[in-house]
Symmetry: D2
Subunit: 254 residues, 4 copies
C-alpha cells in the first residue's frame, strides 16, 4: 500500500449510501449530486490543498471500496441509513481491517448503525430519535480537542432530526460534543474512539432531510475530524500473535 507523504495532502474518500437522493425528490433538491458530493465539496472548501478528496457509493462495484482504493485512503467518511444491510460483508471486513491498520473513519449521523461501525465498537449502537425539524445545539465539552478548533460554542442547527440518549456505545475514548434538542433530549454526538491503529470519530449531524452538510460549522467539524483521524506513516497489517523466543528483542537490536 502506498504510504502517505507527511507533507502531502490527506487522502480522503467520502462514501455515500446514495439511496435517499435517488428515491426522494426532497432529498435530491437539497443534495442534487448526492450528499457525498456536498460533503466532499465542504472538505475541499475548508481544507484546500491539505486534502485530496474522492467519493465512492454503494451502487459502484464493491461499493467503490476496493482494496486499492482503501490502500490509497487515509481517512474514510461514511454516511448510510436505509441500506446498511446491502453493504457486502466482504467489504465490511476490508474496511474493518483498514481501520484497525490505521485508516481514519468518520462515521456520520445514521452511520451509528453501519455494519462496520457496530463491528468496531461491539455494542448495539441504538438510540432514540424523532424527526420533527427541531433546533439542535451542539456543545463543546472538550474545547482543547483538535476537533473543536474554531468551532463556536454552541453550534446552532436551526432544524434537525433528534437523536437522544441512551446511545448504546462503549465509553468514548474522548468525548468532544454533546447536543441538546428543543424537545429536551441530549446526545453524545461527537465521540472519538481508538481501535487498533485507527482513529474513529462519530459525529451525529446530519440527516438527509436537512441541508446540514452545507452548514459552515458542521463542515468545520468534519474537516477537523479528518485532520485528527489522519495518521502519518505506513498502514499496519495485523501481525497475528507471533511466538517470540526469549531475548527476541535483543537479537532484533543486534
Amino acid at each position: 500500500m502506498s504510504e502517505r507523504d507527511p507533507n502531502g495532502p490527506v487522502r480522503v474518500t467520502v462514501w455515500g449510501e446514495n439511496v435517499h437522493e435517488q428515491r426522494e425528490e426532497e432529498v435530491r433538491a437539497l443534495y442534487p449530486d448526492g450528499m457525498h458530493a456536498t460533503i466532499a465539496q465542504g472538505l475541499a472548501a475548508r481544507l484546500g490543498e491539505r486534502v485530496r478528496v474522492r467519493t465512492a457509493t454503494l451502487q459502484e462495484p464493491e461499493h467503490g471500496l476496493t482494496q486499492s482504493l482503501l490502500d490509497d485512503t487515509d481517512v474514510l467518511t461514511w454516511w448510510g441509513h436505509t441500506a446498511h444491510e446491502q453493504v457486502d460483508d466482504a467489504v465490511v471486513d476490508r474496511v474493518h481491517d483498514a481501520v484497525l491498520g490505521g485508516m481514519g473513519l468518520i462515521a456520520l449521523h445514521s452511520a451509528h448503525y453501519a455494519k462496520v461501525f457496530r463491528r468496531l465498537l461491539g455494542t448495539a449502537c441504538s438510540l432514540r430519535w424523532r424527526n420533527d425539524g427541531e433546533r439542535e445545539l451542539v456543545w463543546t465539552v472538550d474545547p482543547a480537542h483538535p476537533i473543536a478548533e474554531g468551532v463556536p460554542q454552541p453550534i446552532v442547527i436551526d432544524a434537525h432530526e433528534m437523536y437522544g440518549e441512551h446511545f448504546d456505545i462503549p465509553a468514548p475514548d474522548e468525548l468532544v460534543f454533546v447536543s441538546s434538542f428543543a424537545g429536551g433530549e441530549v446526545f453524545r454526538g461527537g465521540c472519538c474512539f481508538r481501535r487498533g491503529a485507527g482513529r474513529i470519530f462519530y459525529f451525529s449531524p446530519g440527516d438527509q432531510d436537512y441541508p446540514i452538510y452545507r452548514h459552515p460549522d458542521v463542515q468545520r467539524v468534519i474537516a477537523n475530524g479528518v485532520r485528527w483521524a489522519a495518521r502519518p506513516g505506513p498502514r499496519r497489517a495485523d501481525a497475528g500473535s507471533p511466538e517470540s523466543p526469549r531475548g527476541w528483542f535483543e537479537r532484533a537490536r543486534a
Copy 2:
C-alpha cells in the same frame, strides 16, 4: 482508625456550609433545619439501616471535620457555595488525605468550587450559570452504572439553576448523567472520579433556592452515590515512596 464492618451500615457524614440557611429567609423556608439536615434525612429515608448518617457544618470547631470524625466516616457529602474561602486549609488537607486513603466524597452542586474538590481534580472547575428557575432534565448516559439504578429517564426537575458547559474538569473516569436546561444548555452533571483509594461523585443538583433535596429521584441518586463511593476494608495511609531492595516481594512471601 476504625475499619468499616462490611455487614454494618455505611457511615455517612453530611457536611453543610449552612450559611444561606442562616441569612436568607427564603432558603430557611425551604430548609428550616439546614440543607444538610434534609440531605441526611433523604439518605436515611432511602437507605434505612444500610446507612448511619451524621451531619457537620462550617460553624463547628474544625468545621466539625475532626480527624476522629473522618476516621469514622466511609462517605462524606459536601455542600458549599458562598463560604468556600472560609474553609480552613488544614481541614482541606485532612479531607484530601482521607479521600486519597479511601473515604468516598459526594460533591454536590456548587461544591464544584470547593477547595477540596479543586485540589483533588487539579483544574479550574469553572462553568456557566444562570438562576432563572428553568426546567432541568437529568439524562442517564450510562444506564448500567450502579448510581443510575432505579433512576427514571430522565429525571425532571421543574425549576432549577442552570449549570452549563464548558465545565472545566478532567475527563471523568465514568460519566453517568448529562443535564439539559430549558434555555438549551447541557452539563455533565453526574461524574465519577477515582483518586488514590477514594471514589468521588459529583452531582450538580441542587441549588439552595429550590427544594431539590426533597426530590425523590435526586435523593435516589445521592443514595446510590453513597453506596457506590463506600469502600470496604481499612483506610490506606500514603506509604510514601519506599526504597524496595531487589526481591523484596520474595522476602515478604517467605
Copy 3:
C-alpha cells in the same frame, strides 16, 4: 428470563473448551476433570454460598450454552484455545447479546482470541507469546479496585506461558493488573471493559500446561472478578432505536 435475587447467590456458568484435557495426557494429569471443573471448584471454595456454580463445555449440544442457561446465568467464565473456530456463530450471537444485556463475562487467558471476546471488543486482540515456563509476576496497578481486594503485591506464578505486548485491545475502561515475565516482557493481563449493560474482565493467567487454576491468588482474582461482573436487576434486551415523540418522557410520568 429469571431475575437475580439480590440476596441470593451469583449464578455462575464456567465454560470450558475441554479439548486439551481430552487429547493431552499432561493436561489431563493437571486437570483430571477438565480445567472448567477446577475453575468451578476454585469459585465454590472462595465464595461458598455467595455463588452457585455450573459448568458447560464445547462438546455439549449448543456447547451447553442454551438460551435458558444464559437466562439463568449472572456471570459466564470462558476458557478456550485450540477450538475457537468450532464455536457456533449462533451461540456466539447469543452470548454476545447476553453480555450486552447485562451478563458478566470473565475471559480467561487464550480467550483473548475467542470469537465472542473479539466481537465485543472489535479489535484483533493479538499479542506475543512464548511457552517457556518462566516466572510471571502479576502487579496490581489499581489497588482500590474491587478485583484487587485481598490480592498480594505481586502475585508470583513460578512457571507460566509468556503473554507480551503489544496486546491489541481497545484502551481498557479500567486497568487492574500488569504482568512482567522473567524474559522481560510486560502484559496488561487484568483489564475491565464495559459494553452495553455488561461487564467484562479479561485475566491472562492461566495456560493449560500449568496448574494455574489451583493457585490461591489466581482463584482469588477470578472470584473477585465474578463478584465485580455480577449485576443486580433484570437483564436488559436491546430495545432497538425507538421513535420518541416530543414529550414522550412527560407522558411516561403522567
Copy 4:
C-alpha cells in the same frame, strides 16, 4: 501573551533543578553543563528547526520561570528531585495556570513528586524505587500513539534506577509505555493527562546517575512528547464562571 505561529517552531523551555550537577562529581561528569543542557541539546538534535529551545533553572530569579517566559513557551519540560520544596509556591501557581491555559508539560522521572505535577493530578504520586543500575525495558502499549512514533519495541536501557508500582496517579487519559525491570517490577512510565487546555506527558526515564538523556530512543520519546503537547492557537485564561443570561449564545451570533 504571544500566540504561537502554527508554521513556526515549537517554543520549548527546558527547566532543570540543577542541584545534583552542582554538588555531585559523578553527575557532573555525566552532565557537565547540567541535565537541562543535555535535554535541550537532544531536542534540538531531534527536532531541528521545528523547535526553539531555551533552558531555565531553579537558581535563577523566579527560577527562571517569569510570566513573560511562560507566555513565550509552548511546552515546558521539568526535571527536579532533591529540591522540590525549594520551588516557590508563586511560581508553582504560575506554571499551574499556564498548563491549564494550554502550555504543554513534560514531567521527567523524579518530577512525579514536583509540586506542580502533584497539584495538577491531585494524588500522592508515590511509587517504589531502587537504585541498583539494573536493566529497564520500556514497552509500548499504544503503538499508534504519536509519542510512540519511531520508537523501538522495547527501548532497552542497560542500567537505570527502578521505579515500580503502585504508582499513585489518576488513571492516565492515555497510557503509552509500561516499563519492566530486571528485578521484576513494572511501572506505567509513559502516561498522558489532559488538564484544562493543557497536555501533560509523564516519562519515567531518567535518573541523574545514568546518561539516560543521551540515549537516542529516550531523546526520541521526549521529542515526540514535545510535539504532542504543543497546542496551536492562543493560550486560554480561565474565564471564571460567567453568569449567562438565557439566549446569550443567540446574541453572540447576532
